[in-house]
């Protein structure tokens, strides 16, 4: 059964088409990754699903009901974790969750029970009376999630829930996403961290210029790229590296540094590994490791959209 069904969805702001005739379905129990660079149209789509924006054309069905006609039903079954923290700094963690859950009609002991449950779930069970202004970035992110789940929605939309937090909190959140999914929630997940999406999403859609340009499991997406390979070269120091000179090597389509790893996309049919290594030696770059890999999701994204996810 599909939890979400989107048909011919379009959103215009004046003459600008932010979302262009999107068709999409999300099945029950999926963790659906929604990938797109800034301005690609993913936030606009998410906002329309959450009833924050009205569609110019097309329709959205949640659990088989049109959200424009059954708006209250749709809202009751959706939980949203906005990209920017949406919590009250002047209310305790408990009051925050309780207030937002109360908007969904929860009252009395049920409200208390669900509030406790949500705080326990995100690991803030011992921070009831604490104010978010005293929280770390990771704790605030977790509270942001707790506020979205206390009313037990069927569909949870998470818009970059791990932005700007430490690795420990990120792991906690990713585990929470998996746990929520195990508990029966369907999740739409957006992130600028490709590895997160690759790690937890069961299906992924890539959005560019308001259109869905690819949709499938990560294996399906990777299999669409047959003419590109990834070359990862571990380097000790890249200070003397001239990245532009590497781009001139025959077959190389993209070069980027990710910490101590030089990530190169190259055409499969060109055997250019020797040329690349010679270039690095000439630039006095100390090489530690060389790996030739299947194309990553990041390469898929770059190949399809022509830009990095973080652009």
């Amino acid at each position: 059964m599909n939890v979400l069904e989107i048909r011919n969805l379009t959103k215009k702001f004046g003459d600008f088409i932010a979302v262009d005739n999107i068709n999409l379905s999300v099945a029950e129990g999926e963790i659906f990754g929604f990938l797109g660079a800034n301005g690609a149209g993913k936030s606009t789509t998410i906002n329309m699903i959450a009833s924050l924006l009205r569609a110019t054309r097309g329709e959205i069905e949640l659990l088989g009901r049109n959200i424009a006609k059954h708006n209250k039903f749709a809202k009751m079954n959706i939980g949203i974790v906005p990209q920017d923290l949406a919590i009250y700094e002047d209310m305790t963690a408990y009051e925050n969750v309780s207030f937002f859950a109360g908007l969904y009609g929860l009252r009395g002991s049920l409200l208390h029970e669900r509030t406790e449950e949500a705080l326990q779930f995100v690991g803030l069970g011992d921070k009831h009376r604490s104010f978010p202004r005293n929280f770390s970035g990771g704790m605030k992110r977790r509270l942001n999630i707790a506020c979205a789940i206390a009313h037990r929605p069927k569909l949870i939309i998470m818009d970059e829930p791990t932005v700007g937090i430490d690795p420990q909190s990120r792991n906690y959140i990713l585990n929470s996403v998996r746990k929520l999914n195990d508990m029966g929630c369907t999740i739409i997940y957006t992130s600028h961290y490709m590895e997160e999406v690759e790690e937890i999403c069961t299906r992924i859609a890539i959005v560019d210029h308001g259109k869905i340009i690819a949709d499938g499991t990560k294996e399906q997406l990777k299999s669409t790229i047959t003419d590109t390979k990834d070359i990862w070269i571990g380097v000790k120091s890249a200070e003397s590296l001239k990245v532009d000179s590497l781009r001139n090597v025959q077959g190389v389509t993209a070069v980027r540094m990710d910490e101590q790893i030089l990530k190169i996309n190259s055409k499969t049919e060109v055997n250019n590994l020797n040329d690349i290594i010679q270039k690095l030696i000439r630039d006095r770059v100390e090489i530690r490791s060389v790996e030739e890999q299947e194309p990553s999701l990041e390469t898929v994204f770059l190949t399809l959209t022509g830009r990095n996810l973080r652009d």
Partner: protein, 374 residues
């Protein structure tokens, strides 16, 4: 039910907010005290009477007049008049001109001749009034003596026993506010009008905190959010106003008259009006424009409304500007209620406040509906 849920959040959060305490409670109370103490004289309509020294010379040989005069001098001495008989070789008029005495009186068989000094006209006039009263009563008694001596005795006895030689007559008999009374009223209406600022932050604050997204995504209508927030904001601000009212009444002993319900109703509608103006401005002027407009408007309205000192003699443009200040409406209504004992004077202010508030709320509701989110 959701309306109260949203309203209660507003009240609770504001009750904890130190800024609410400082701006809405501490600030007006301190200002009330400072201005009330500093400008005491500006609100005093009475004059204090100085020493009254009467130099007199009694040359009359009429025993009845002399007896009456003695009774009269004894009576006015009790009222604080110092009487000094003039030595034979003293020029009474010159003594008064030299400011050694307030006035000089010469009592003879032909009557009383009075000479008042120009240095202390008020005291001199009072003495003149006393002597005139004495002369009138003596003449009356003298006339009565012819037909009915016992009545003449009664007239003189009553006159000297009461000591009421000067009658008090006032042109404006209504009571007027002292400085503390005035500033208690002005500061309370000013604080009520300061609700403009929290009104302007009501929805804008949700947008800045991103919580507007959660509110919009929740299964509550925009109307519910709107109503809940307006009710909550009005309630908490009115609580602050009521606290200032009670503090001024019981600690500063400010005069709030007898019609408390009418006074509080004027203040409540003024808070509602201010919240509506603030909220409306936050929709009419984008970004920080609304906050700036409200800030400037609040200060001008407070100044023209008489928050810092009474603005009674404005003319032309200033008069128009003053008269459209909502604080002016409130202050005028409260003055009438408190000092004119006219609780019906509350009605125009209540009506005006409610009508303007309704207009601003309607504009806001329309603009809110047009927007996709809050």
């Amino acid at each position: 039910m959701q309306i109260w849920h949203i309203a209660w959040r507003e009240i609770k959060v504001n009750l904890r907010d130190m800024r609410t305490f400082v701006l809405m409670l501490a600030f007006p109370i301190v200002l009330m005290l400072i201005l009330g103490m500093a400008l005491t004289n500006a609100f005093t309509s009475g004059l204090s009477l100085g020493d009254m020294n009467l130099l007199y010379r009694d040359t009359a040989d009429n025993p009845q007049l002399e007896a009456s005069w003695d009774q009269f001098t004894a009576a006015i001495a009790k009222e604080g008049v110092t009487l000094t008989p003039a030595p034979v070789d003293t020029d009474g008029k010159a003594e008064v001109s030299a400011d050694h005495y307030t006035a000089y009186a010469e009592i003879s068989n032909n009557g009383i001749a009075f000479f008042g000094g120009v240095m202390h006209t008020l005291e001199s006039n009072v003495l003149q009034g006393m002597l005139a009263t004495f002369a009138d009563r003596y003449n009356l008694a003298a006339a009565a003596m012819i037909d009915s001596p016992e009545k003449a005795e009664a007239i003189l006895t009553d006159t000297y026993a009461g000591g009421d030689f000067v009658a008090e007559t006032a042109l404006g008999s209504e009571k007027k506010p002292g400085s503390i009374d005035y500033y208690a009223m002005a500061m309370t209406t000013m604080v009520a009008f300061y609700s403009c600022m929290s009104g302007s932050f009501l929805i804008r604050g949700e947008r800045l905190r991103n919580t507007a997204i959660r509110l919009s995504a929740a299964p509550v209508s925009k109307g519910t959010i709107f109503a809940g927030k307006v009710i909550g904001c009005t309630a908490i601000n009115f609580l602050c106003v009521a606290a200032v009212f009670l503090f001024s009444k019981f600690v500063f002993k400010a005069d709030w008259g007898d019609h408390y319900a009418a006074v509080l109703l004027v203040l409540l509608t003024e808070v509602l009006l201010a919240v509506s103006i603030g909220l409306g401005c936050s929709y009419l002027f984008m970004e920080d424009g609304g906050r700036l407009v409200v800030l400037i408007f609040t200060q001008i309205a407070s100044f023209l409304g008489g928050a810092y000192f009474p603005v009674d003699d404005a003319t032309n443009f200033m008069k128009i500007a003053r008269d459209i200040s909502p604080m002016r409406w409130a202050n005028q209504a409260l003055t009438q209620i408190i000092y004119g004992h006219d609780w019906l004077a509350a009605m125009p202010a209540i009506g005006l406040n409610t009508a303007v508030a309704a207009a601003f709320l309607a504009i806001t509701a329309i603009l809110m509906r047009r927007r996709e989110a809050l």
